[in-house]
Amino acid sequence: MSASETAAMTEAPKRARLVLLVDDDPTMRAAVRQTVSPLCDAVVEAGTVADCVKAAREASPDLIVLDLGLPDGDGLDALRSVRTFSTVPIIVLSGRESEEDKVALLDAGADDFVTKPFSSAELAARIRSNLRRAQLEERSEDERRIETGPIVIDLMRRSVTRNGKDVRLTPTEWTLLRTLVQHAGRTLSHKQLWELVWGREFGDPQLHLRVHVTHLRRKVEPEPGVPTLIVTEPGVGYRFELPR
């Protein structure tokens, strides 16, 4: 069970009003619906890219679960179309597993992806976690205070303490930490992080990111050798997972 899963369960999000479920296979749709319906008031289903975009526009769902294999086009097209008019959280169900595919999904605006095979519990946890983040984003970010083991991160006071002692972060590390926390539970691709934190095109993003993330982990992770807060999504990016 991942940290985000645990966190999402202990602090249950508000029930969603409407979830849009997009999959071309009716059997699979029925199966996923079983997982989704306890988490929301209503489920709308779509089986094509066109239906998906139409439903997203007209029903304005709280969350979209999108399977990539659609008969009238690539799920990625649906994703891009929806992103032109909506910031609704989108979770992609993907049979593809290459890192390039995942990066492409994130860069196209997916909030999260679940790779097949996934368990219902896994999907439910991702849905809760994304709903929760969407609701949190409505709050002021500076209200955040994260406590885990010996570590306390207080974004409002811009302080990190380990066993009550102040830990000094460089300005870059602060920006990196804040960016990750703001998108907690969501994987940010290397490119997205590079743009959000460094805001520039030149330089070696790979080198800067790796080194700064490692330094940051040594300062804020309860056990830097086995990170639980700043999690590596192999070949894709990094994700901040809220502790339980």
């Binding site: 699979m28 997982t35 097949k116 920006t175 460094w198 790796r210 050798g225 192999p234």
Partner: protein, 381 residues
């Protein structure tokens, strides 16, 4: 060289044989020399010369001609026991003997050389055409094999992709049935998941075989790799303990040039294996620098490998002499090694001093020229 030796031996035998014949003829003919005409004697010697030149070549032929000349002049043409000639025309006989003997020898030798050459040519042609046929067959076989391998991989890849979606449906439905209280459904779900994982492994394997592994070797840190591996193995590390450590000065970050996702899969595979066989004893996951390589070692205190297992542990589908008790495809280590080698690294096994195994994964070291510092940050607001 056996052929040259054989020839020398046959020449030696010729000398012996013809010299003996010479001696015997001379001994036999000598008492009869008054009853015989010189022509008879010359014919006998000429026959011997012809035989000698056939067996012994020029040296023997010429020697026999010279000897015949002197023997006939000395013993068979009066005055006897003198090289001189009694009758004026006898020198013609001797000249004829010499001329016929020398010419015959020369002709025979040349004929033999030609014959030998022709024979060698024929042999050569025969062996060349045999070689050509062998090569042709080999090429045809290689092509067939390659085609079969390609087809097999294409089939594997396609099957793996197409199995994924229906398996997902089975998995989801089974989970829901299990949640509704169907005891057997839980097992169905578990098996579906196992099948999925196996399909993924087969897909990985087919990718390493047909060269479509999309490798992206880039700058990555050992600490990041080990952390991700430890996290991935968290579920398994219950009971047994996984100890993670990067050796060396902590302020100098250990880095390598490798594809993070693929290398992580290889390391996780090694750690999972180690945990399986460690039987509850601690497993160490250690990164260190060695020369121009970044090394990741997975050390366990399990039973280790028998010499037989050590020789084959990286062979695909090899299950090992003790594998019976553990489920697995027998592909994990083969895939891990292919991944490592595809990025200029390697994967090897070593016996661990004091018992157990060390699996050692290497990748090229990346040198951090100037560590980025806080000064490179953007405007922080």
């Amino acid at each position: 060289m056996p052929a040259a030796l054989e020839r020398r031996r046959s020449v030696l035998w010729s000398w012996l044989l013809w010299a003996t014949l010479y001696a015997v003829s001379t001994v036999v003919l000598l008492p009869e020399r008054l009853a015989l005409r010189v022509a008879h004697i010359v014919v006998v010697y000429l026959l011997i010369i012809i035989g000698g030149s056939l067996g012994g070549g020029r040296p023997l032929g010429f020697t026999l001609v010279g000897a015949a000349y002197f023997i006939i002049a000395y013993d068979f043409i009066p005055p006897y026991h003198d090289i001189g000639l009694e009758k004026d025309n006898d020198w013609l006989i001797l000249l004829g003997l010499a001329a016929v003997g020398l010419t015959t020898t020369e002709l025979f030798v040349r004929f033999r050389q030609q014959a030998r050459l022709a024979e060698a040519r024929a042999d050569e042609i025969e062996s060349l055409s045999a070689e050509r046929e062998r090569l042709r067959q080999e090429a045809a076989r290689a092509e067939t094999l390659q085609e079969a391998e390609r087809l097999k991989n294409a089939l594997l890849a396609s099957a793996s992709h197409d199995l994924r979606t229906p398996l997902q449906t089975i998995l989801t439905l089974a989970e829901q049935a299990a949640a509704a209280g169907d005891a057997a459904a839980g097992q169905i779900g578990k098996e579906a998941r196992r099948l999925q994982e196996y399909v993924g492994t087969l897909l990985d394997w087919s990718r390493t075989r047909d060269g479509t592994v999309a490798l992206r070797p880039e700058f990555n840190l050992a600490e990041d790799l080990l952390g991700a591996a430890a996290r991935a193995c968290r579920g398994l590390a219950d009971g047994t303990q996984l100890r993670v450590r990067v050796e060396g000065d902590a302020s100098e970050l250990l880095a390598g040039e490798f594809d993070f996702a693929l290398t992580l899969r290889a390391v996780v595979n090694l750690v999972e294996n180690a945990l399986k066989y460690a039987g509850g004893t601690p497993v160490e996951l250690v990164a260190l620098r060695e020369g121009d390589q970044m090394v990741v070692e997975v050390r366990d205190r399990g039973p280790g490998l028998t010499p037989e297992d050590a020789a084959h542990v990286f062979d695909p589908f090899y299950r090992g002499t003790t594998a019976g008790r553990q489920a697995g495809s027998g592909l994990g280590l083969a895939i891990a090694r292919e991944f490592a080698r595809a990025q200029r690294g390697d994967l090897t096994w070593w016996p661990r001093p004091g018992g157990g195994s060390i699996f050692r994964l290497t990748v090229p070291l990346a040198v951090l020229a100037s560590p980025p510092d806080a000064g490179t940050m953007p405007g922080y607001t």
